[in-house]
Point group: C2
Chain length 456, copies 2
């Protein structure tokens, strides 16, 4: 590769103002929020304004086999957006226009840089709802959400990003700008290539436009059900009981004492007075009997206290405490974020194993969880600069992944593989399935330029 000639070729692909070579700015765009995931050195950062500019950048990179690392807001937690050596960082956050909201067909068409909450607010004005709600929704982009198949709080009832992506426009490994998927409610004309690109973490191409399916904005006042437990495993038993009872909450979140304390220390919300471990449930059907049944599950599993209400302000305070848990913990030191997902009946067992690892290895593990999905986020918090603790934390990180696999679960429920979960994912799927991944990667990205070294 000849850097000068290459930069000249880039300059023909998009305006000079859209090419950034300042090392500090490049460094600031060279990683996501995953602690300790390695990052490489980029040769350029580009900020295209259109799909055509993305296509031109990919063509230039393809010619010289320069790696392309696409990124949205950089809120990922697995290192998927981290720079690799010699790459072009393709920042899509500037392509942030909502192109269309079709109320009658219940769909929206957006550029990849549209922020999740912005889309939600815009469609709410039409009485519509875009359900996927990762905790990063105030900052993360729909492009990044699609690339990682992001989840969130309401997934337990409403599904994940892939369930809402109808169609994509992508730049392919052969440099074409193509449309995958559809605008209609149903369609089986060929392979589900849009679904394949969702969750592929930028390794198969670059997403330049997304068509999402929308639901009607819920009309019922949601009921919030809160239960306080004196142990993690006790709360886990309530989760298993809820699943066994066939209750379908629209949220079932767990927040433990470490998180409550961290949020209190930061925002003084008085959460630690509520209990050691909280379960926050929501029933959005307007069915008072189901809300009572959920509270009954909490009580029968040994809740210290429980309550239910339709008070929106109170509910918002509790759910925002859950959202604040992660940034509150980050104030205490680097956080190694897990994302395992296990069968719901095994949530108590998985939580018990996590607690044992914390004790055995002498590390602090805080727990938040999309508990109703069996999707747990044990957060391993390490004092800044303590290298020995860091080594122990990394050992626990891998041990928890192995436990999830042993319980029939997965190493990543919603954050993606990126760099941090590669060993775990390979252990989970096995060599034969990894070979299928490699075959697809080679087929769609023959030059191997898209986000190399991620996932596989």
């Amino acid at each position: 590769m000849l850097p000068v000639r290459f930069i000249e070729a880039l300059s023909a692909a998009l305006p000079a103002s859209r090419i950034v070579l300042d090392p500090d700015v490049m460094a600031a765009h060279s990683r996501d929020q995953a602690a300790w995931a390695p990052e490489g050195r980029a040769v350029a950062l580009v900020r295209p304004e259109s799909a055509e500019q993305v296509r031109a950048v990919v063509a230039v990179c393809g010619e010289d086999r320069v790696p392309v690392v696409p990124r949205g807001a950089g809120t990922g937690l697995s290192g998927g957006a981290n720079a690799v050596d010699g790459c072009v960082l393709l920042a899509l956050d500037g392509m942030d226009r909502i192109l269309e909201i079709d109320r009658d067909e219940q769909l929206a068409v957006v550029q990849p840089g549209v922020v999740n909450d912005s889309l939600r607010a815009a469609v709410a004005g039409h009485g519509l709802w875009y359900p996927p709600d990762p905790a990063s929704s105030p900052w993360s982009t729909i492009g990044g959400n699609a690339a990682t198949n992001a989840g969130g709080v309401c997934c337990v009832k409403y599904g994940v990003t892939r369930d809402y992506v109808l169609g994509l426009q992508v730049v392919t490994g052969t440099g074409e700008l193509v449309r995958l998927g559809r605008r209609t409610r149903k369609g089986v004309a060929g392979y589900d290539l849009a679904g394949l690109f969702v969750g592929s973490e930028g390794t198969l191409g670059v997403i330049t436009e997304i068509t999402v399916r929308l639901l009607r904005l819920p009309r019922e006042t949601p009921r919030t059900i809160v239960g306080a437990f004196d142990s993690l495993v006790g709360a886990g038993r309530a989760v298993a009981a809820t699943a066994a009872a066939g209750i379908t909450p629209s949220a079932l979140e767990l927040v433990d004492r470490y998180c409550l304390r961290a949020v209190d220390d930061w925002r003084n919300m008085g959460l630690t007075d509520l209990g050691d471990v909280l379960l926050l449930g929501r029933i959005d059907t307007g069915d008072e009997l189901e809300a009572a049944a959920l509270q009954g599950c909490f009580d029968a599993a040994g809740a210290v206290w429980s309550t239910r209400s339709t008070d929106a302000e109170e509910a918002e305070a509790l759910f925002s405490a859950r959202r604040l848990a992660y940034p509150a913990l980050e104030r205490l030191g680097p956080v190694l974020t897990e994302d395992v997902c296990v069968p719901r009946g095994l949530v108590p067992e998985m939580l018990a194993r996590i607690e044992r690892h914390a004790e055995t290895h002498g590390v602090h593990i805080a727990n938040i969880a999309h508990a109703g999905d069996g999707n747990l986020h044990p957060l391993i918090v390490v004092p800044a600069g303590d290298d020995e603790a860091r080594t122990r934390a990394q050992r626990v990180f891998e041990a928890i992944l192995d436990d999830a696999i042993a319980l029939g679960g997965t190493v990543t429920g919603e954050h993606g593989v990126g760099l941090l979960k590669k060993r775990g994912m390979h252990a989970e799927v096995g060599e034969d399935v990894l070979a299928l991944h490699r075959a697809i990667k080679s087929a769609l990205d023959p030059a191997g330029i898209f986000n190399p070294g991620k996932i596989i």
Copy 2:
């Protein structure tokens, strides 16, 4: 290829009783229900009893590059299961065991030959529900449903087969038996290979086991809303109005006068007295106001009469008339089945175009539709033996596909591409996207043995 040596190799792969060489039996298994789709001559029919036997058969075929054509119940409508010359027909209907129903995790694990209605009945005994309900549900298999990503009546609210497939066991093109997907509620460990195999019509591998997600059996008594219209386009306007009103029925079916008459001629149900074109809606939330709103949409769009009730028997009679429409029409002559899907607001325009084609070309077109999805099934009925009419029918068939594409729709909403929709699908997706299909096909089926000539 040496037939004798090849048959000997097959005999090592599975018991002699599972290999059928009788030409009549082979011929009877050489096609699905798609009228006029070409069929080839198979060299053998095999009926494996286990995934391991499927693997062994594929290995034998792979060695000699003998095409493998998998089939379930043969109820497909696009020719996807039709024999190609020199193929082995791989009949999976004998692998029909339900391996597991897990009430707490709300999932079931089944072999591919389990009939859709059998699964629905079995899980209902546990208070659970498998939503996808193609009209073929009394006969079609879950394996075939997964291979074609089958839809049905309740898709308008509950989605299609892919939305319920969590994991698959498949035999790959390199002869391995692998597991794709997961058992947990969420998971993003690698590419969505299970989703890619769903709807791939047997062209990427053979499905030997399916893990499906289940819902809780609905508890509310559904409300049935019926509207009679004096024209197809009038009924289409009611469909568009329903979409615009943001109503979410759990079924919204259209049946026209040709179908009503055909069912009456066969079963004497007195349907023709009800009106020219019927819309059958269902609201399953227990929300009387929403049921009234749906009826209001029918009335405002010009319904001749309308009614709503919670009478289960009455509702069952009407919906069974809709299911009987297709076999009733088949009694009148060969039926060329369309499966276009258009944006819901364009249902009236698409129906008007279909009517014009019928008039212009002098062909009989009956209409049934999953109208709420925009998924229309114009059925072109031809008098048996009338070759001239057949030519006109085939011309109209292609013209309707082109109209669907022109309206931003798809040539196939739920039946699949098979053989009949190849030209239409290629016109819909374009050469660049077709190239992506070919690349994936080559990557996963390097020997090109799986259902060659279908889709691409």
